[in-house]
């Protein structure tokens, strides 16, 4: 920070004595050494190298908390007013590190372990065995392939959402009512949707949709028997729930477009299509990309509807990665392999989303 900036915000200029600095440093390093010492002792005790008699990991946790307090106090001791400012962020950072980063690291350890809860041997490090198993696991690859299809369906969902948003942005009668009505599916839990629609309305014996189709002459209407139709029905139910979410984002974007732009285009002789394609759509691109990216993240977590309606069937046709991991983890207590699948999926999502954001960014720029 520049000196000028300091003058703007710092009330007192701290003159930190050397002894105070030394005390601060020793506080940080002393508590850090203590924490490492206790952690090492506990690891040794846990692995049976020495016997201290720790019953849980609380001593290490307390040492971490002590180190965190010392670190925060040292900021003020060593840096005075600047240190106080750091205190606004540092505790939160330490909390996030302990709640996100540590568990993630533990997750990685578990992912490279052979850990079936029913195994009497407990968790055993097994190197890359889980990765090899994943590589040759047809269920996982099938689920990943399905996810590609599910994700591609977002293009259609986006088109529908855009259309609905345009309608709701237009001067139509009962606009407020329709806005609320179209939003209702988003307010429903996907579990409720899967029971109300998948297990009741689409039930092929007594479901009203099947009955109507029978009345119309369809012999045996069934919605989850063939792989393609089953996958399509899952896509439809998911789309029905989440199209309103995209719609409401796009609608907000549409309402932010200044009216003058379209009026000017009209004066210049642009027709309705030209106005949409040359004015509205380009202006809506940032909102659209955001809506699509968030929707992709939602879609990649798709599981509840599948678990409830088809349990991944018929023959894995509707399985999503999450529903497969759910079975692997919950039904088979295969904690190590399940965790690896989840972590690999997380990496795929992070990499794919980063690439997507970069590409979208580059693609959008020439329009302006």
């Amino acid at each position: 920070m520049s000196a000028e900036g300091d003058r703007l915000h710092v009330v007192t200029a701290d003159d930190i004595a050397d002894s105070r600095l030394r005390f601060g440093k020793s506080l940080v390093w002393g508590s850090a050494v203590l924490m490492i010492f206790i952690a090492v002792l506990q690891t040794a005790d846990q692995n049976g190298w020495i016997d201290i008699g720790f019953t849980n990991w609380r001593p290490t946790l307390y040492a971490y908390i002590f180190w965190g307090i010392c670190l925060c106090a040292a900021q003020v001791i060593m840096r005075g007013e600047h240190g106080k400012r750091t205190l606004f962020v540092l505790p939160a950072t330490l909390f996030v590190v302990s709640m996100v980063v540590f568990p993630l690291l533990f997750g990685l350890v578990i992912a490279f372990s052979d850990w079936n809860l029913a195994s009497p041997d407990g968790r055993q490090f097994n190197g890359l065995d889980n990765v090899r198993q994943m590589w040759s696991d047809p269920f996982y690859w099938n689920a990943l392939r399905n996810m590609v299809w599910y994700t591609l369906a977002i293009i259609v969902e986006y088109a529908i959402a855009f259309g609905l948003a345009l309608l709701l942005n237009a001067e139509i009668k009962a606009r407020k009512f329709f806005r609320v009505a179209f939003l209702l599916p988003l307010m429903l839990s996907p579990v409720a949707v899967s029971w109300m629609i998948g297990k009741s309305m689409l039930e092929n014996r007594f479901g009203p949709v099947a009955r109507m189709l029978r009345e119309l002459g369809v012999d045996n209407p069934s919605f989850f028997s063939s792989p393609e139709i089953a996958q399509l029905m899952i896509m439809l139910m998911d789309a029905w729930t989440y199209i309103p979410f995209m719609m409401i984002m796009i609608l907000a974007g549409l309402q932010a477009i200044p009216r003058e732009l379209n009026e000017a285009a009209k004066v210049d002789g642009a027709g309705a299509w030209t106005q949409f394609w040359e004015v509205t759509f380009p202006l809506m691109l940032p909102v659209s990309i955001t809506a699509i990216l968030i929707r992709i993240i939602f879609k990649l977590k798709l599981a509840d509807i599948i678990i409830n309606v088809t349990a991944g069937g018929p023959g894995g046709a509707t399985d999503s990665v999450t529903s497969f991991i759910f079975r692997e983890y919950r039904d088979r207590s295969n904690v190590g392999y399940g965790t690896l699948l989840a972590i690999v999926y997380l990496v795929i999502i992070v990499v794919a989303m980063t690439i997507l954001i970069k590409v979208a960014d580059r693609w959008m720029r020439p329009r302006y």
Binding site: D114, N116, L117, A118, S119, P120, D121, G122, F139, E203, N204, R205, F206, N220, P221, S222, F223, F224, S225, P227, A230, T310, A311, G312, G313, P314, G315, G316, A317, R327, R330, D331, R332, S333, N334, V335
Partner: protein, 543 residues
């Protein structure tokens, strides 16, 4: 008794009474009126008759006050072995379920008088069914068993007793609960591990055969008699294609196999077919070779069971969309709603048939044990034997009460824990649990003394009809018993996944499906540990 069963029998009786009120019955009523009013006088004297009157059949659901009253009246065996105030200062933790506000809720009431008499205090851990398995597995895997008494299913004995987490049952407990009264299949080796006893049984489970009586008989569309073997079941199912259901007028169907998984529980339904082919009377094992843990699921017997299902799929014998029918669908949305004529299920179907609002088959349903087979596969010789074989499937072995190792070091606490558990598993209190909503089914030979039920106010014909098929299955000499090995539901769950692929046509043959399941089972066995699984499987079979 499970709630739905209780409601079923009570409502079934009301129907019967209504019938008796018909004009045609007036004369008969006059003739038997004296007898009818005499019925209470014929009730068995003594404690059992007394507790069965609390609160009285058909007078609404029992309350906590009723449970306490029953618990108080059944304290006799405890008082014989424990002095008043003997467990003063002892605190125990009891982990169990809270399904339908039963299980632990009942136990609390039953044990309140026990606490007052002995001076012990019980802390309760109530779990929903869905939370139960993960909680137990995690407690086991992380070594954080924090309960002294646990309500647990026998399939978990491998996970708990097999890992030395349970306390061996003292001899006096066995005497107190009169364990020799248990039905055949719940006798050891169930409840034992390495020859030691651990379980106080409080429940029983098995699959029974339900069929439509209007499909079978002279001139009926299904033939003159009810199929007795799986070969006949398949033949009838194929012959019914294109015929009309006599009750609903919709297309007629034969046997209803669930083709979709059910969190591992769906595998029990393939087992029903396979049991008749694969469970040889001379061999207690039928899922794995006990010496090697090599799966038998791809041997000719199991492959025949899978082939039976594929045959019916290919013939188009199932209702539309069967590929998405799990056991819940076949039982409640198909069979009870008038679709299909034959079904294997737990006892719920029998009672719901007469009472459920969506059931249309109440008057045309009959019961039997698991169909048999004209031939049985002998795994020892590797060949089929052309002799009739039947093997009821004891799918899930019901709930039991166990005491954990936490109390082993403290003799006073240990005695207290076992005394509490024995109070819940007592012979008399169990009769009450069988007769009233409790979440548990009958499981003792003494529960099938129909006179007691009749004296309590139940309709004898209905009770005999309803319980008879269960009793026949329970006591069958060749019952196919659930293997109580660690991770048994993992095996079932992965088999469901492979079967789903097979039924969807992704494998070339039944043999390929069986091989795929076997390969997946081998992986699980290796992961859990083959040597320990062999040891535990043998122990669970009592070999």
């Amino acid at each position: 008794m499970k709630v739905e069963h209780y409601n079923a029998v009570v409502r079934a009786q009301m129907n019967r009474r209504r019938l008796l009120q018909g004009a045609a019955s007036v004369g008969a009523m006059a003739a038997v009126g004296g007898l009818a009013t005499m019925r209470p006088a014929h009730a068995q004297a003594g404690l059992r008759a007394e507790i069965l009157k609390i609160p009285g059949v058909g007078t609404g659901s029992p309350t906590d006050a009723d449970w306490q009253k029953v618990g108080e009246l059944c304290l006799g065996p405890t008082k014989e072995r424990v002095a008043e105030g003997e467990f003063e200062g002892v605190e125990l933790t009891f982990m169990g379920l809270n399904n339908q506000n039963l299980h632990n809720f009942l136990f609390r009431g039953f044990l309140k008088p026990w606490e007052a008499y002995t001076g012990a205090k019980i802390n309760w851990v109530d779990l929903a069914q869905a939370d139960y398995n993960p909680r137990l597995q995690q407690a086991i895997a992380t070594g954080t068993v924090d309960f002294d008494i646990i309500e647990m299913g026998a399939p978990f004995e491998g996970d708990t007793a097999g890992k030395g987490l349970l306390d061996e049952m003292p001899g006096w407990v066995e005497e107190q609960i009169e364990a020799d009264d248990l039905v055949g299949y719940l006798q050891p080796p169930v409840g034992t591990w390495d020859g030691k006893k651990y379980r106080i049984t409080i429940d029983g489970d098995c699959h029974t055969f339900s069929y439509r009586t209007d499909y079978f008989g002279d001139g009926a569309i299904g033939g003159p008699s009810v199929p007795k073997t799986w070969q006949e079941v398949n033949a009838v199912s194929k012959a019914l294609i294109g015929k009309e259901d006599p009750l609903t007028g919709l297309p007629a169907h034969g046997y209803l196999d669930p083709l979709k998984g059910w969190g591992g529980f769906g595998f029990y339904f393939l087992e029903n077919r396979a049991a008749a082919y694969a469970k040889h009377p001379d061999d207690p094992a039928w899922l794995f070779d006990p010496d090697t843990m090599k799966p038998r699921v791809n041997n000719p017997a199991w492959v025949q069971a899978i082939q039976d299902v594929l045959d019916l799929i290919e013939a188009g014998a199932y209702p539309a969309d069967q590929i998405n029918a799990d056991p819940g669908t076949t039982g409640f949305q198909q069979f009870l709603a008038g679709t299909g004529s034959m079904l294997m299920w737990w006892g719920d179907i029998g009672s719901n048939a007469r009472t459920s609002d969506t059931s249309v088959v109440g008057d045309v349903v009959g019961f039997g044990i698991n169909p048999g087979s004209d031939r049985v596969y002998n795994s020892q010789t590797g060949s089929w034997e052309d002799t009739y074989n039947e093997a009821p499937n004891m799918a899930y072995l019901g709930w039991g009460v166990y005491v954990t190792k936490r109390v082993s070091g403290d003799e006073k606490k240990r005695k207290a824990a076992w005394s509490a558990a024995a109070h819940l598993g007592g012979k008399d209190i169990s009769l009450w649990m069988s007769a009233y909503p409790s979440g548990f089914q009958p499981y003792r030979n003494s529960h099938f003394q129909y006179d007691e039920w009749e004296a309590a106010g139940y309709d004898r014909a209905f009770i005999e009809d309803y319980l008879g098929s269960n009793a026949d299955s329970y006591n069958h000499p060749n019952a196919a018993i659930e293997p109580r090995i660690p991770g048994i539901f993992q095996y079932y769950s992965v088999a469901e996944d492979e079967l789903a692929k097979g039924y969807a046509g992704q494998y070339g043959s039944a043999q390929e499906i069986g091989d795929a399941i076997a390969a997946a089972w081998e992986k699980i066995t290796d992961q859990i540990g083959r040597d320990s699984q062999i040891k535990l499987y043998k122990a669970s079979l009592g070999i």
